[in-house]
């Protein structure tokens, strides 16, 4: 899946959704138990959109995000990244896809403890085609003065911002965030969300944020609610709140 092909295709046909999922189901077989995590889900994510995926634990939102991010494959249904069918891609194609097009942010940061903030970012820029400088990415998340610290020397919020910098440094088309503030307090959570907002505004990166925290939903362009493996609703947010106005 070559990136030049992707760009030329999208240029021809005008703005397509970045992701299109149609009739996606995911069934986990855990020993003798069958868990239907996704049931016939249709879903789109548009260019430049900041989308909040809201749902209780076990609603299937993480499963959907993992499938979009190429970490997992649906049991049935189709998923396209632009015009590329992720549901048919093999292991190597998914690796290339993750490497070039998508950035991840997790609840538990998942930084490499043996590398400094700068090096954690460099780890990704070293294998990317057109990355920004690690320093630039860290500056974007407000960590210009903490670049040579190791994860163990950073607070939770700082670690999460390093994770965001690491995710955006390769200039991905889409950023997938799974409970990015789940382990953080309100104030720190705000700083992290502000960093995400800035990425969305300045780099025009499409972002999907998973949360079970309904308050956060107000910062998105669109809010998709999930429950029991299905999409319950999808609402365009006419009045996007600034981070400072959010309370939880």
């Amino acid at each position: 899946m070559a990136s030049d092909q992707l760009t030329s295709d999208s240029a021809k046909k005008g703005p397509l959704p970045i992701f299109r999922a149609r009739g996606v189901s995911k069934i986990y077989e855990m020993g003798e138990v069958r868990v239907e995590a996704l049931k016939d889900v249709d879903f789109d994510l548009n260019e430049g959109e900041l989308l909040v995926l809201l749902g209780a634990s076990g609603s299937g939102k993480s499963t959907l995000l993992n499938i979009l991010g190429g970490l997992d494959r649906p049991t049935s249904g189709m998923v396209w990244y632009r015009e590329h069918d992720l549901s048919q891609a093999d292991e190597d194609e998914l690796t290339t896809y993750r490497r070039k097009h998508v950035g991840f942010v997790f609840q538990f940061y998942n930084l490499i403890p043996s590398l400094t903030a700068r090096e954690n970012v460099a780890l990704v820029t070293e294998i990317s085609d057109d990355p920004m400088a690690p320093e630039e990415a860290l500056d974007l998340v407000g960590l210009a003065d903490r670049m040579d610290h190791f994860p163990a020397q950073l607070s939770g919020g700082e670690q999460q911002r390093v994770a965001i910098a690491r995710a955006v440094a390769k200039r991905p088309n889409v950023l997938l965030c799974d409970e990015p503030t789940g382990a953080l307090d309100l104030e720190t959570g705000r700083i992290v969300l502000r960093a995400l907002e800035r990425v969305n505004n300045e780099l025009k990166t499409a972002i999907a944020v998973i949360t079970h925290n309904a308050a956060i939903a107000n910062m998105g362009d669109r809010v998709v609610r999930m429950g029991s493996g299905r999409i319950a609703s999808s609402d365009v947010n006419t009045h996007r709140l600034s981070i400072e106005e959010i309370e939880w």
């Binding site: 991010g69 690796t95 490497r99 991840f104 538990f108 998942n110 490499i112 780890l123 070293e126 190791f150």
Partner: protein
């Protein structure tokens, strides 16, 4: 406790990889204890009971000729218990169907009650005192030449060709390792021992009522040096050639050096294995306990005591270790039995069999348990001291700091992934160092094992290609006139001949003395050369002595020193002689002189004892046969044939030796690297999963994981070389004997092979762990908190 036991079994099953690898190392340790140590003990038991039954002498002396009446004089010496006098000599023997002539050591047998070093009959009967031409022959010679009771051989005894009938086949404790004089390994086809009745053989040798060898046992508490000097004094007028104790009895000496080698390796190798076991258990258990923090907390919260929790992990270690010890015992028993079987080909005892003592078996289990205890100690203490509340919390994130490489400014050349590798190694320096040492043992074991062959190869090449350049060497039954040279030169097929003389002498420096044969040769002789350790040739000086380093060290003299030389034949003159040069050589103990200088030193009639011959191509066998029929010839031997038979034995030994070395070293390398990589994977699974999410391919992630073990292996290789070099040097030092010194030579091939084997083991371990890595579930790893 039953539920906890069930958990123990399940945990063992779940961690079967590390547990089995540890069990394998313990098995190897037990195997070496049972086989090597067991063989050693079996040999010692066989030797002791044999020496006891056969009344093995303590002291021997050879002399020219003394009347039998002297026996009572010897008997009366202070400290002497029993005395046995003998007549013995060498003679050539012709066996039907054997191309080359053989050499026989002929000796008298006396009445059972007076004989020391009694014969043990395997079959047939002993000849009577007066039974002429009836002999008992040594078992090895009989086997090698397919001789049985009733077979006949021909021998030239005292100038007469006689046909000898084999009455019986026997073994003697003085010939447990049957070695022809001057050789360093047995050739049973061409060397055998022949025993005939005392009166019959004495008559044939013109030695009626006389003896030329005496053996004796000492009273308890007698001083050997004292008895030897008394014996030397009493034999002096009868051409005494110097008495010696068991330490210089050839067969005993070889047996002892084999035993001491067995004891050393049987101690050293298991110790290495057990050290590796302790290290592995320490590493594996600590990791296991780190991953089971929460389970430990729950157990403690429910009221399990610290002792319950501690003994849980201790039992885990003991299980792995006892499993290994049990497997090792079975294999070790079988291996020990095989090794003893192999020994019976070289050392002959009436009753040698593998005996596994209960003591040794329990010893193997006890030291294994000890290694388990030491290895488990840190982990158990960690589990015991964990307060339940703290155990419930996840472990604090690992803290890192820039390592030494970065502080010296090396970092800018490194990619982020390489930095990860280096920092991980530097963060746990103890673990990294022990891993490297563990792997280096595996390299060192190979170096030490293979170097022995390098050294022996070097020694043999020097001996048979550079020193002994003759096709045949001949020794005469008694000294002959130097004019024998012309007869030999005129023999059909002989192209060159050089004669030599050997004069038994005692070299004296202060209170140190040493009996040795001084060899005299002509200055321009070229069939035999004197070659130093470094391969350079030493020219014989016109006057003075050239002696072996071993001899110089024993006498504490150097080149330039002056020695008193007491000639042990004829008028027994004592003269002062200068040492011109000291030679580092490997085989035997030598002293050389120019032949005319030696004649002058010895006084009396000029005579020679043997000759070295160069023979025309293809004539070796025929010349050798012709010489064997000459009455004056005692022995004809071919260095080439000796070399070939030696090579054959060496190659077989090499194959067996290398098999076990490779097995042992691979077990260590596999276990250390496999567990190291597996623990890295467990510690860093989350990190590696993150990398996969970030778009690193499986290969890239695997490379990152294995770079650490790879780097440790690379560091371990030169350490292993150095360790092996040092151990090899220590081994060479401990194996310095009068008969041979192993040259300290380590071929580059040995270094390469040892490194290659270890790298191979590392790759194999990585491959196993790689399969595990491929099964890792990306998502579930990232969803959990450490």
């Amino acid at each position: 406790m039953r539920a906890l036991n069930r958990k123990l079994l399940r945990d063992l099953w779940h961690h079967r990889g590390p547990m089995l690898s540890i069990a394998a190392v313990v098995a190897a340790a037990t195997m070496t204890v049972l086989s090597m140590r067991g063989t050693y003990e079996s040999l010692v038991i066989a030797r002791d009971s044999y020496y006891e039954q056969s009344r093995f002498p303590d002291i021997w002396a050879s002399l020219e000729r003394a009347p039998e009446s002297l026996k009572s004089g010897i008997q009366g010496l202070d400290g002497v218990s029993a005395v046995d006098t003998r007549v013995s000599f060498m003679a050539t023997v012709r066996v039907e169907g054997l191309e080359k002539p053989a050499t026989g050591f002929f000796s008298t047998i006396d009445r059972e009650d007076v004989m020391l070093g009694r014969l043990h009959l395997r079959s047939g009967r002993l000849p009577g005192q007066d039974e002429r031409d009836r002999v008992v022959i040594s078992e090895q010679f009989a086997k090698a030449n397919e001789l049985v009771e009733g077979s006949t051989v021909r021998a030239v005894l005292n100038g007469q060709l006689r046909e000898l009938e084999v009455l019986g086949i026997g073994i003697s404790p003085e010939h447990t390792y049957p070695l022809a004089p001057g050789s360093i390994f047995p050739d049973n086809q061409t060397y055998g021992v022949f025993w005939m009745g005392r009166n019959a053989l004495s008559e044939l040798a013109d030695m009626e009522g006389a003896f030329n060898q005496v053996a004796l046992t000492m009273q308890a508490g007698a001083k050997e040096a004292h008895v030897i000097s008394e014996l030397d004094a009493i034999l002096k007028p009868y051409g005494g050639l110097g008495a010696h104790g068991r330490d210089l009895q050839v067969s005993h000496q070889f047996l002892e050096s084999e035993l001491s080698q067995n004891r050393t390796t049987g101690t050293f190798i298991p110790a290495v294995f057990l050290a590796v076991v302790a290290f592995l258990l320490n590493m594996v258990l600590r990791r296991l306990i780190a991953t089971q923090r929460q389970e430990i907390a729950v157990l403690k919260a429910f009221g399990y005591t610290n002792a319950d929790v501690g003994s849980f992990y201790l039992r885990m270690a003991l299980f792995a270790v006892f499993l290994g010890a049990a497997i090792g015992s079975v294999v070790g028993y079988w291996l020990g039995d095989m090794m003893v079987e192999l020994y019976t080909e070289f050392f002959v005892f009436p009753d040698l069999q593998y005996r596994l003592s209960g003591w040794l078996l329990s010893f193997a289990f006890v030291i294994s348990a000890l290694a388990a205890g030491i290895g488990a100690m840190a982990g158990v203490r960690q589990a015991v001291s964990l307060p339940p509340a703290e155990a419930m919390r996840p472990q604090a994130p690992a803290s890192f700091r820039p390592g030494i490489f970065e502080r010296i400014g090396f970092a800018r050349f490194l990619s982020s992934s390489m930095r990860m590798v280096l920092r991980n190694i530097e963060r746990q320096p103890v673990k990294s160092i022990f891993s490297a040492i563990g792997v280096s043992f595996s390299v060192a074991i190979l170096v030490v094992g293979m170097f022995l062959f390098d050294g022996i190869d070097y020694m043999m090449d020097l001996q048979f290609n550079r020193i002994q350049r003759e096709d045949l060497s001949v020794s005469f039954e008694r000294p002959v006139s130097p004019s024998v040279l012309y007869e030999l030169q005129s023999l059909e097929g002989v192209s060159e001949a050089e004669i030599w003389r050997s004069v038994p002498a005692r070299l004296i420096s202060g209170h140190r003395r040493k009996e040795v044969g001084i060899t005299g040769r002509h200055l321009d002789d070229d069939l035999r050369r004197i070659i130093k350790e470094d391969g350079l040739m030493v020219r014989l000086p016109a006057e003075g002595l050239v002696i072996s380093r071993f001899l110089a060290d024993a006498l504490q003299v150097e080149a330039g020193s002056i020695l008193d030389v007491e000639v042990l034949i004829g008028q027994r003159p004592v003269r002062q002689v200068a040492i011109q040069e000291v030679v580092d050589d490997f085989l035997g103990v030598s002293a050389f002189m120019e032949i005319d200088a030696l004649h002058r030193l010895a006084g009396g009639i000029r005579s020679v004892n043997g000759a070295n011959l160069k023979v025309e191509a293809g004539r070796r066998e025929s010349v050798s046969r012709a010489l064997a029929d000459v009455p004056a010839v005692a022995d004809v031997s071919s260095p080439r044939a000796m070399y070939e038979s030696f090579r054959k034995q060496m190659d077989e030994g090499f194959a067996i030796g290398v098999f076990f070395l490779v097995l042992f070293s691979s077990i260590i390398a596999l276990a250390v690297i496999y567990n190291g990589a597996r623990i890295s994977l467990s510690e860093r699974g989350r990190e590696l999963a993150s990398l996969r999410v970030l778009g690193f391919s499986k290969q890239e992630v695997a490379l990152l994981l294995f770079s650490e073990q790879g780097l440790i292996t690379l560091i371990a290789i030169p350490i292993g070389w150095a360790l092996g070099y040092w151990l090899a040097f220590a081994m060479v030092q401990s194996l310095i004997t009068e008969t041979y010194r192993i040259p300290f030579v380590v071929d580059s091939g040995t270094y390469l092979a040892s490194a290659a084997m270890t790298v191979l083991a590392a790759l194999l371990s990585s491959w196993v762990v790689r399969r595990r890595l491929n099964r890792y579930d990306l998502i579930s790893v990232l969803k959990t908190r450490d």
